[in-house]
Symmetry: C2
Subunit: 153 residues, 2 copies
Amino acid sequence: MKNQNDGIRYDALKLGNQVCFPLYACSKELVRQYGPYLKELNLTYTQYIVMMVMWEKETVSSRELAECLHLDYGTLTPVLKRLDQAGYIRRERSAEDERLLTLTVTKEGKKLREKAVSIPPCIAECMGLSAEEFRTLYVLTYKALRNMESKDN
Amino acid sequence: MKNQNDGIRYDALKLGNQVCFPLYACSKELVRQYGPYLKELNLTYTQYIVMMVMWEKETVSSRELAECLHLDYGTLTPVLKRLDQAGYIRRERSAEDERLLTLTVTKEGKKLREKAVSIPPCIAECMGLSAEEFRTLYVLTYKALRNMESKDN
DNA sequence: CAAGATTTACTTGTGCACAATTATGTTAGC
DNA sequence: GCTAACATAATTGTGCACAAGTAAATCTTG
């Protein structure tokens, strides 16, 4: 009797019943799959998503970047320094407000975009989901993300 | 003209069109949401998923654990040492095969399970998805995970 | 305008996460 | 039985990721 009740009581704690775990494992595996492709661009996954924003916006404030990537400065500062060092972006203080750090993609940085265009289809292929499934995954992850962020005020 | 074509050409590289990014961000945010709850058990998320396996199996080999958590020894070794140090698990070499590391949950470790049962509903609530959506997310992430793992040999 | 609050960014410390290398025990083939 | 292959685990090195604390510039408010 005790065992039966315990089984039910603890069911939600089984790894196989968790939604969080496959999400976490899938995310890690995904980043790992990027590895070989990004290695050719000398980028890590985090550096890659920074560059994605830079390609799109050309110029962006550090704060804006942190917000749209959901990263804090503790993570971002060293990443940006490495990208600067590599010559892909330029970091400079804003003249009007000395606190603000403005980031600009360099010519070298733009070149990477040309090489990067081939990556998304490869990743999509290796995930092996249908267009419909990709869309569903997109919608659900963003929904959960939004919900969680609204929680921590 | 060039700009128009470029727009289309680079569309897949926009952050907003990526499936990988919300998955990655959602996973991180999820782990962050666990923080306050796990802090009361003196566990990190990684330590928590190790304990979930330990609670379920009582005894497990290090290799088996690595496999089902999709973690390598570089990650696992220090995590297991900390859990051992904290008194939640015991690490011992197998007598028959000195290479094998056998892990056993301690009485202290089992106590944590009682406290942990309250966590899954809190996390589910803060993700704010319906039962149907949870199931879909579960299925899709496992499917992608399986597909990706079949790729790397 | 001066003091305190706020914003922006950096720093420090801890703990993953993984690739690559090393170490050691076990097994297989000759 | 001995050596080469293999399996298991630990180590090393690099780079996130985030909390907490610090610093400096700007803004607010009396």
